[in-house]
């Protein structure tokens, strides 16, 4: 008898993708047809971009793993949407090859920012929470996290980039992405850090630490292998997925502010805006009070896919169940040892 998988967030992602596909087709296909008729876009390439959500739909339907389904269903439409936005942005102004190279650079820069940020956040979160393994070491980590959580990330980024301009230490190229990644990683470190603290609290409820010590496991191995690697790996990954969405939204907000106020440091945009938005939409951000319908639609199309991307990743972060405490020693033996002691 076939076992039916329980409904979860993957199903939601499936429905979202199902709703997305007709929208994408209805919206992008006429534009692509017009552009193909004008000879601006090669037909084969354009149509494959539009049908990418269909591939995602089939993929999410076939997949039995809820998390993979959710992630697949949400990442693929983003790529399709980005590609469609790329085609729209290139219309008649720039050759498609030039636009493709710009797109690749922009997307790569975003990936660099988010990767550096998540890596920094994980590293700082782990280092700060290591003292929590001792009963009295938790207060210092909590206090640092309180400080970091009290500061809005967008405010920090805009102030720092403004200061770099004020100090004439202008950042350019990939250095902007590294700078933004490290700073946002520092201020997002409470996300993985708190997950580890919660996990250590769960472990402390049982005989986890005492049983391992009774078995003669050295302290460094308890910390690095049993706690961090064996038991905190999955919560840490979930926190990193959540942090990734924060970085995407923060970078988008930062780029908007820098586009709207070039006085702050307009030469320090991270490339995210230039990648996904048309020139007309970027002009609309400069004068949002006078935005027209066409400009709104041109801005809405990439935003729709970015929103879907963030929703999908957050569903993945919320949906995955953290397994029960994994102890490498038999708990019955450990209890026996403790009673003997």
């Amino acid at each position: 008898m076939e076992h039916r998988r329980p409904p979860g967030h993957g199903d939601i992602a499936f429905y979202v993708t199902a709703a997305l596909w007709p929208f994408s087709l209805a919206f992008a296909l006429p534009i692509l047809l017009v552009k193909t008729a004008r000879g601006e876009v090669p037909a084969r390439r354009g149509v494959s971009f539009v049908f990418a959500p269909l591939v995602a739909l089939v993929g999410s339907f076939r997949s039995r793993d809820v998390e993979r389904s959710a992630g697949f269903a949400c990442v693929m439409p983003l790529l399709a949407g980005a590609a469609a936005g790329l085609i729209l942005a290139g219309g008649g102004q720039l050759p498609l090859e030039h636009r493709l190279s710009q797109f690749a650079v922009g997307f790569g820069r975003l990936a660099v920012t988010a990767t550096v940020s998540v890596a920094t956040a994980s590293a700082i979160g782990v280092v700060v929470t290591l003292p929590c393994l001792r009963p009295k070491g938790r207060a210092s980590a909590e206090m640092l996290f309180e400080v970091l959580e009290a500061v809005p990330l967008v405010l920090v980024l805009i102030v720092l980039i403004g200061f770099t301009r004020a100090g004439e230490a202008r950042l350019a190229g990939l250095w902007v992405n590294l700078f933004v990644g490290v700073v946002s990683g520092l201020f997002l470190s409470p996300l993985p850090g708190r997950r580890i603290i919660d996990r250590v609290d769960e472990l402390r409820l049982g005989y986890f630490f005492s049983s391992l010590r009774l078995h003669g496991v050295p302290e460094w191995r308890i910390v690095l292998f049993h706690v961090l690697w064996n038991n905190s790996k999955k919560p840490l990954m979930l926190a990193c997925v959540g942090a990734w969405t924060h970085v995407v939204l923060a970078v988008l907000a930062l780029d908007f502010l820098l586009t709207q106020f070039p006085v702050v440091g307009g030469d320090a945009v991270t490339g995210w805006m230039e990648t996904f938005f048309t020139r007309s939409a970027l002009q609309a951000f400069l004068f949002p009070h006078e935005v027209t319908g066409i400009q709104w639609i041109e801005a809405a199309y990439p935003i729709f896919f970015v929103t879907l991307y963030v929703v999908g990743l957050r569903l993945v972060a919320m949906g995955r169940k953290v397994p029960a405490v994994s102890v490498l020693v038999d708990s019955a033996d450990a209890e026996e040892d403790i009673s003997t002691v």
Partner: protein, 301 residues
Amino acid sequence: MIRFLRVVFHELVLKTAFPAVVSTLLMLVALSLVSYERGLVVRTRTLEERSEQDETVEIEAWHAYIDWLERLGEGDYGRDRYGRRIADYLGYAFRQSGFLLVGSVAAALLVGLLFASYMPRRRRFRLAMLPALVATALPSFFAGMTVLGALGYRPYDQWNLVYAFVTLSLVNGVALEAATLGMAASDSERDRNYVLAGLLRGLRFRRLPLPGSVERHVYRTAIPQVLSAAKRAVAPAVGAQLIIEQLFGLRGLSSLLLNGFLNQDVSLVLTVFLYTVVLCRLVTLGLAFLAWGLSRGSYGA
């Protein structure tokens, strides 16, 4: 009483004043690092020279910071490039930003809890969570642009404050926390013994926490958890507020920040930074005290 004083000290001193001071120190370190190429020198306008000449000067970052701290202690924030005293309109900007943030957080909490109460029980988790999740994932500037396009922009009109309030309530993420945790907490509370005892005494299940309903007791126990989780959504909400204030032309803290950049005034930028962090912590503090007050005497505590 002693417990109350301990809570006040812990929340007010350790969790509000300390983060505010440390965050400005962090900014100073960052300021020094980014201006390292020029020998820890920043280009700024000192407070004395700002009103006399219209040119920037270069001073050391530490000097600028200590100068700012001294002036801050005296309550003197200097003058802007038009000769107006910053202290005169800093209070107005703080009040406006504070009203916007507090109002939007409160509205989002109410909306989230209403979602949690009124959604159909079988599918309510999905139905309530998904709109809130989408609203939270929407970039704040695009939400603002949509509201502006739909309702129109009126220069120097109080309606802009209402529009900004609506937009920030949508995107600030508190509604998502309230909806998801409200449902999860109330569901987990329904199996507790006090709920069973209440049912035996004649209480009934209703949607809203009205007198004579089980929900009145369930929510009293569940809401502190919701408030505790909503505290973490306040700082991202402040980031969104900076953008929304600019979109709707409000004269809040973000306009002062922009003035600081226009004037290359490190002191003003640090002041706005400090006030923003304090505002963020005060809202968090309010939520913490509300959670503490509601949890007193609740059955689940």
